[in-house]
Symmetry: C2
Subunit: 204 residues, 2 copies
């Protein structure tokens, strides 16, 4: 029996550097997971290949996918749809390969509902580590600015709730290493490994 | 406030290569955790330093440690006691450093009771991955031998129950990398990280 792959979801506040971390991860030759190709209604740019860069769809085809629940998550930006086709994800997981999604926090919420067993990684802004200093240096900031920062920090904290892991994006290389370590560790979890042995021994 | 370190417990069936993996881990310059020095009643060998190789104790002093519950775990081999002083472990964890223990499965059970929050890693023999083949190649083995192997596999499986992670020792370098990845991942767990932020925001 083929063991299923892991669904890895990297998300976090906008501007945190998700795309940069994803590109760095996939530029490394030892990365063994598959990047999930998105579907879009945007026109292909020169050199873009259907099924590699995106699955290019008409608006009608995309809306049909929405209606038929064929998207793990989707959103509309500047008049174009972007989404994650569930078929590709399921097929790749069934082949025993780990699938990597890099999506917005709204999308991550949608994915969690359909794949509660996914591995949800919150990419945290590097500034969070400096938050304590920034907040507690009193007298140098107006009370209003401190309040504003506290509110932003609390909002980010609430977004974290949904996630299994928090990776600080202090340095892109370090953030990548952490993401890859998390995937290695998850593959070693006893529940995951033991199930395989148990099944094997039951069969015999 | 200093965040506490992780207690990392590497154990597994005897002969699996725990010592080899531990030595490899501590030979790597980027290893950031502390090796827990054992106490023993064995006489120091030439070159061995008290507090570095072992804490050398008299039999009376060791038995007093047992009575005073000052050992995380202990056992007697060939007329000498060996054990893990709890003071060193607590002190090092309190300093925010990760502590690494390499111990026998019996000792791991004792540690789990005192440190349920520890990170328990089961080092599995490389043969486990070949088990399926070995068991299912029929006709080439006596029924008795197959039964014997099934029993051994089931016993190992039961020993795994106590652990959070299972690391296969197929290659020492790979096993080390997995152990270190598990520690990196555990430091990124949301419960661990979020607590820190929450505490920080409450204080202010």
């Amino acid at each position: 029996m083929q063991e299923k792959g892991l669904l890895i979801v990297l998300s976090g506040p906008s501007g945190v550097g998700k795309g940069t971390v994803r590109k760095e991860i996939f530029s490394q030759p030892d990365t063994s997971f598959e990047y999930s190709v998105s579907a879009t209604t945007r026109k292909p740019r020169e050199g873009e290949v259907d099924g590699v860069d995106y699955f290019f769809k008409t608006r009608e085809a995309f809306e049909e996918m929405i209606e038929n629940d064929q998207l793990l998550e989707y959103a509309e930006f500047v008049g174009n749809y972007y989404g994650t086709p569930v078929d590709y994800v399921r097929k790749t997981l069934d082949e025993g390969k780990d699938v990597f999604l890099e999506i917005e926090v709204q999308g991550a919420g949608q994915v969690r509902k359909k794949f509660p067993e996914g591995l949800f990684i919150f990419l945290a802004p590097p500034s969070l580590s400096e938050l304590e200093n920034r907040i507690t240096i009193r007298g140098t900031e107006t009370a209003e600015l401190i309040q504003c920062r506290m509110k932003a920090a609390r909002d980010e904290l609430e977004m974290m709730e949904l996630y299994d892991y928090v990776v600080e994006n202090d340095q892109v290389e370090l953030a990548c290493e952490r993401v890859k370590s998390i995937v290695v560790a998850e593959h070693c979890r006893r529940e995951r490994v033991q199930y395989r042995y148990k099944k094997m021994l039951e069969v015999d």
